[in-house]
């Protein structure tokens, strides 16, 4: 108990509160600008925070980390552009909700479930850090491969019934993911002598192109044809009503659970958690047909999942000294310089620090939630701009954000090209989700499978119980719905739809 008092008491310094406020504002802002990720913001802030006291520095970095997860939902919901990769799955239902005039409810619900996910996962950090950290270490390359394969099965779900087109887009995404150096041999693949391509297609530029830019292009095309699709003017109610609040409970629980587990796994973060949670919530829902067309449930699951990864990631980082995601990889560097080496010894040498860190995260979550609820009035003003003005603002943000990722004009060109590709896909009915999933998950699956094969030989995926279970679940996820339809066609339906999970 003394550690709790010491840890929380250490934060009663006004400068730390100031650091928290600065971090929260910064994080919300960078989260809302497509292209600038939490990892980048934390990395850039590191240059300044190294000279601060450890707790002050941690307050800045952690509150950026937490609040970026709130800011990035705003462009995802309003303009179909994920602010950071963690909100890719937010666009699946967030944007359709906004188009249906329910942006207000979507933004509020998103902020609320994000806070729930974040707070729940911080509890894990406080109470279960040590046992959970051991689980994380059993995730080697082959287990990570199996988890990624499980994530890929949702390409079917996100295709919204257009399965052939969805899988085509997914296959193209996997092919695009093969661009760059071979992860094991280092040979160049499809790089055409362009140095920028040796590290693969810049996926943030691709995401901004096919989601954000393509949407703007599409609106311009529609407007030229006589303006059938009006921009979002109406935000509707802000506060979800009773029935809506009740519908949020189940997907939020699913999302939080999945996010916490994925967060613990080293190197897997909010993007993968959001994608898996969206698909699992769809399977568990009473209204799976509404997913992808503006379902509040489909918004709640990924948003709670991606914030719930934070507690898990911090747990893995502190308890093992192993980065739980890319932001934590940057933070470990700072902590070492401060003399706070993450790892099992940290809990012995600085037990109060764990409570300081979790308190900082709780306060940052509440501050970000408050900011999210207050700042929405400003969002309304932005959306009242006419389409042509709004388009310029969004395109400018997309270009600046994309350039800022690597200070690279090449990335901006890639974004523009994929904006046009995305427009074509949209006009011909190919969903963009599977393309991006293929691009992100393909290289992860490939490199981890090949590492696993190098280590354990050709039977590696079957020898690991975790990997074998995850692969069996993936097969089940693909086969079960079809098998059930077949069974239902032949005899009386006797298997409950829940069994497909």
């Amino acid at each position: 108990m003394n550690d709790v008092i010491a840890g929380v008491g250490a934060l009663l310094d006004p400068t730390i509160l100031l650091c928290l406020i600065v971090g929260t504002l910064l994080g919300t802002l960078v989260g809302a600008v497509p292209g600038i990720t939490a990892t980048m913001a934390v990395a850039l802030a590191t240059g300044f925070t190294l000279t601060l006291e450890p707790l002050q520095g941690l307050a800045v970095l952690l509150s950026i980390y937490v609040s970026a997860q709130f800011g990035d939902r705003v462009p995802a919901i309003l303009v179909n552009t994920p602010g950071t990769p963690a909100s890719i799955a937010t666009t699946f239902d967030g944007y359709p909700l906004a188009k249906a005039g329910r942006a207000g409810v979507a933004l509020t619900s998103s902020a609320l479930v994000s806070a729930v996910g974040s707070l729940a996962s911080i509890l894990i950090l406080v109470f279960l850090a040590q046992p959970i950290a051991r689980l994380a270490l059993s995730f080697g390359p082959i287990e990570l491969f199996a988890l990624v394969v499980f994530g890929m099965t949702m390409m079917v779900g996100v295709s919204n019934g257009r399965i052939a087109k969805g899988l085509t887009a997914g296959a193209v995404g996997l092919l695009l993911g093969a661009v760059g150096r071979d992860p094991i041999s280092g040979d160049h693949r499809f790089t055409f002598g362009i140095p920028e391509l040796t590290s693969g297609l810049p996926f943030i530029a691709v995401i901004i192109g096919v989601f954000g830019l393509a949407e703007i292009f599409n609106q311009i095309v529609e407007a030229r044809r006589g303006g059938s699709e009006a921009p979002i003017e109406q935000l509707g109610r802000w506060w979800p009503d009773r029935a809506e609040r009740r519908s949020l409970v189940k997907p939020t629980a699913i999302g939080t659970g999945i996010g916490a587990v994925v967060g613990v796994v080293p190197a897997a973060g909010g993007d993968i958690a959001g994608i898996i949670a969206w698909d699992q919530a769809r399977r568990a829902s009473k209204h799976p047909e509404r997913f992808g067309k503006g379902s509040l449930e489909g918004l709640a699951a990924p948003d709670s999942a991606s914030t719930a990864t934070m507690g898990g990631s911090v747990t893995t980082t502190l308890a093992l000294g192993v980065p739980g995601d890319s932001v934590m990889a940057v933070m470990i560097g700072s902590m070492i310089v401060w003399g706070l080496q993450p790892g099992p010894a940290l809990f012995v040498q600085h037990p109060d620090l764990v409570f300081s860190i979790s308190t900082i995260m709780v306060v940052a979550t509440l501050a970000a939630l408050g900011l999210a609820l207050v700042r929405m009035q400003g969002v309304v003003k932005l959306l009242k701009l006419p389409l042509n003005a709004l388009a310029v603002v969004i395109i400018t943000f997309c270009m600046v954000g994309t350039y800022a990722v690597q200070n690279s004009v090449f990335d901006v060109i890639v974004m523009l090209v994929f904006g046009i590709v995305g427009l074509g896909m949209r006009r011909w009915g190919f969903p963009a989700g599977p393309l991006v999933l293929g691009l992100i998950l393909g290289p992860l699956a490939e490199s981890n499978l090949r590492r696993g094969l190098l280590i354990d030989g050709p039977l590696a995926p079957l020898q690991s119980p975790i990997a074998a279970t995850l692969i069996a679940l993936s097969v089940l996820a693909l086969v079960a719905p079809a098998a059930l339809r077949y069974l239902k066609g032949r005899s009386k339906p006797r298997v409950d739809a829940e069994a497909t999970r």
Partner: protein, 324 residues
């Protein structure tokens, strides 16, 4: 409608102006004469993402250079292509001293791995640190010494797996060098960066990891890993009790390092101004503390010595990476 059109035009113009301004930063000091060096801000390129060890090296040195030279030193990250994107960018800039870069060990390696990177494109100003290589095994590993590990690899060639930071990384080369010195074959397993490679060893998924001392020393100290050998001539300050590979009979000396360079063709006076400013920065307390706290070795080697050192390393990696 016309009001909206005006607004649109205004916004477009503002956006264009912003983009133009950003583009101009690089060239701000380009036309200045050499006799007034430095006549404007200095851009300090780093071919890595913000936040990594190389980037923080650049940022710490930049702060010290600012007070030494009296101009702003702006760190500019140009990551991508294993560092080749940033390196090739710097090689093509005006050699006026207003564009300098921190270059990691890859500058001597990438040319041998099908990249267009060549140390001859740069004037080297100084070497500012070195990070010794280490080999470590999981804490519960049966291998107690380097000889145990080599013996196991001799008994079953290719069965001993060693993780490293990536295909073509210095630590993959380190494991190759050890295999060459011991006359055995290890199975290298490239990961996506040093941290996941070390994690794989902590989790027991691989038999050993070759990584920088900054990454293995903390894990050695709290008992998650056991460092078997340090790849240096003298025992390393971060792990004084661990024997070097040479002491154990395997002649392996390899490590990562960082040098500061400018595009080739620098004026002699500009070079010596920069060289002495970097010396002050590299010997400053802030820089030495930062490098030591991350387990690495701060040092300063002047321009001439550094050029010879990089040339040697370039030749050596050519021979080593040829049989990759």
């Amino acid at each position: 409608m016309s009001r909206f059109r005006t607004a649109t035009l205004g916004l477009t113009a503002a956006a264009a102006a912003a983009v133009l301004l950003t583009g101009c930063v690089d060239r701000a000091g380009a036309q200045a004469p050499a006799d007034a060096f430095p006549s404007g801000d200095i851009t300090f390129f780093t071919p890595t993402q913000a936040g990594g060890a190389t980037d923080l090296t650049a940022r710490t040195i930049a702060t010290e250079l600012e007070s030494e030279l009296g101009v702003s030193v702006i760190v500019d990250n140009r990551p991508g292509g294993a560092g080749s994107v940033g390196m090739e960018h710097v090689a093509g800039l005006e050699p006026d001293g207003h564009s300098i870069a921190v270059l990691p060990v890859e500058v001597a390696m990438l040319g041998h791995l099908d990249y267009d990177t060549d140390p001859a494109d740069y004037d080297f100003l100084a070497q500012v640190n070195s990070q010794p290589g280490t080999i470590a095994v999981p804490a519960d590993s049966p291998f107690e010494t380097l000889a145990d590990l080599v013996a196991a690899a001799e008994a079953a060639p290719g069965s001993i797996t060693i993780s490293n930071a990536g295909a073509g990384s210095i630590w993959e080369a380190g494991a190759l060098e050890l295999g060459d010195a011991a006359g055995v074959e290890f199975q290298g397993v490239p990961f996506d960066g040093g941290a996941p490679a070390v994690t794989a060893a902590v989790g027991g998924q691989v038999d050993a990891v070759v990584a920088g001392i900054g990454e293995t020393a903390p894990a050695h100290e709290d008992g998650r890993l056991r460092v078997l050998a340090v790849f240096t001539e003298e025992p390393a300050p971060a792990l004084p009790d661990v024997q070097t590979a040479t002491e154990q009979g395997f002649d392996v000396v390899i490590g990562s390092w960082a040098v500061i360079a400018a595009p080739a063709g620098l004026d002699e006076e500009v070079r010596s101004t920069l060289e002495s400013a970097i010396q002050v920065a590299a010997e400053s307390e802030a820089y030495v503390d930062f490098i030591e706290s991350s387990g690495n070795i701060p040092l300063f080697r002047g321009a001439e010595e550094t050029s010879a050192f990089v040339t040697d390393e370039h030749e050596r990696f050519g021979a080593l990476l040829a049989d990759r």
